[in-house]
């Protein structure tokens, strides 16, 4: 294996890691900070991808912009799911029982979302043809896939924003405190 091959593998590994990091930031908030076991995390992400896809296909919105446009509607969906469902299985009580309840609830949600989507949209694979999905920035002999590079940058920015939010802002600190001791937060 040549040095340039090795460099290519390392760079690609880092870029893929960036995509995974981007996916897990939401999980870090909901499970890591709020201690809610969420089996439906990936399913909500899938719904977000479908919305981005339809924005691109129907309205011609570039997926990079479309991804941002999915935030407001999914924020509302999140509030709705929390108010209607999650609130019943969070916030004080026996942690073991709460976790079981969360697991059943979110796994049920996950099954409904997955099968509902398969029924409505069929299992047909859908993709968007964008220039940056199949183009690469060339750095010497090493190629950096453009789409993955954007995802990597977005992951870095988001991770920074979430970190600052949780450690430097009052709301973030309050969020962590309430998750740490829901009972005390209720007084």
């Amino acid at each position: 294996m040549s040095v340039s091959d090795l460099a290519q593998y390392v760079v690609t590994g880092l870029l893929v890691g960036g995509v995974y990091a981007l996916m897990s930031i939401g999980l870090a908030l909901i499970f890591g900070v709020m201690r809610v076991v969420n089996f439906a995390q990936g399913d909500f992400m899938m719904l977000g991808m479908y919305l981005t896809y339809f924005l691109a296909v129907v309205s011609g919105v570039d997926p990079l912009l479309g991804a941002l446009l999915t935030i407001p509607p999914f924020f509302l969906v999140g509030v709705g799911v929390h108010r209607a469902l999650l609130v019943r299985v969070t916030g004080g009580g026996d942690p073991q029982r709460l976790m079981d309840a969360q697991l059943i609830l979110t796994l049920g949600l996950s099954l409904i979302i997955t099968n509902g989507t398969t029924m409505l949209l069929t299992p047909m694979p859908r993709g968007i043809k964008t220039a940056y999905a199949t183009q690469a920035f060339a750095v010497g002999p090493v190629l950096l896939n453009e789409a993955r590079s954007y995802a990597f940058l977005m992951a870095l920015v988001l991770a920074g924003v979430v970190y600052v939010f949780l450690t430097r802002t009052d709301l973030g600190k309050a969020l962590r405190a309430a998750a740490d001791d829901p009972e005390a937060a209720g007084y």
Binding site: Y9, P123, R126, K129, L143
Partner: protein, 404 residues
Amino acid sequence: MQPHAILLAVLAAAPMLLAPPAADAADDFKIALVAPLSGRWARQGQLKKMGAEMAIAEINAQGGIKALGGARIVLREADAGDSVEKAVSAAQRALSREKISAGIGAWLSSFTLGVTEVAERLEVPWFTLSYADSITERGFKYTFQTSPVSSLQAEQALDLVVDLAKRNKQTLRKAAIVGDNTAATVFFFKPLREKLLKAKGIEIVVDEIWTPPLADATAIVQKVRSTQPDIVFYGATNFPDSIQVLQKVKEFGLNVPIQGVGAWLVTPEYVKTVGKELLDNIMTVTAAHPLKGQEELVKRFTERTGEPFMTQDPLMTYAHVWIIKEAAEMAKSADPKAIRDAVAKLDLKSGPAASTLAPGRIKYDERGRRVGAAPIIVQWQNGEPFTVVPVEYATKKPIWHGAK
């Protein structure tokens, strides 16, 4: 067992317990279709279902199975999912819940190997389009393999590319082998690796195999780029993995002929995702594809489903339903054992089943392989896949682009 684990087990089993047994007239003739309807291979299962439904609609419209007093055919589909375990349990459920006269499935050879074991044990005749040689090497009496086996497809595919290159005054010297480790691909690559390529004086410069799902294709395509083979033998079996490889091929600007194995490489989604230009480099060997003279059949299918073209999966499943119908007429019974014996004696040279598959004959040998089953080579040309080999059935002439 931890409470969590018990909970998970109960939740995982819940959908099976909840599924109601379907209530239909007792004298309906039931065919099981076990195919991936969710997960990475779901598109192929969906296409199979379309073919089965088309044949069933035609048969029922013509008065059902006449020898059984006009019995209607009904389809019982079961989702093989994305693992051998799921496929096997789907088959078990489908075959033990009610009386099934015959079954079809389960697309991916690895799934079929498991599913046919269930069918053999429960003595239900089973029809498959899967390619792996091992499916009919186990002495099973109830398995009928309609496709030419993988090793035969490998020979045919290699002969074609060597011949095409020669006619275009090129010599193939270096080959790459790239694909997953599912059964059909394994049996396709094995003879290439062990003898066929050496016999043609072709050296293997890349040999990259993965277990699906493929996380990232960069390392694989990077190797292809640095070794510059004259031909790539390609077996990804599912769209999500395949598209990762092809997008990398495009990203790295590789221009190399790709010879695939299987009908997963000729679904319409490729045109939208990687574009016509890249597809022009791709050929694939399959068990069925629309042949010269089948325009009417293809038209019925595209009008019915809205699909832009027809491929192996609906064609084969369409033929399988018709074969089962013919066997039931011959057996004058819906009993699976009687149907199996009728299939073993069947020799169809006309009718919808025989005319759908080259070379126009439906007869199975003592192992359960279809006599004379010929591999079909399909080539993408300007965004549509055409049959190019064998020439007597071809709808277009093959074009050689060569490595650039």
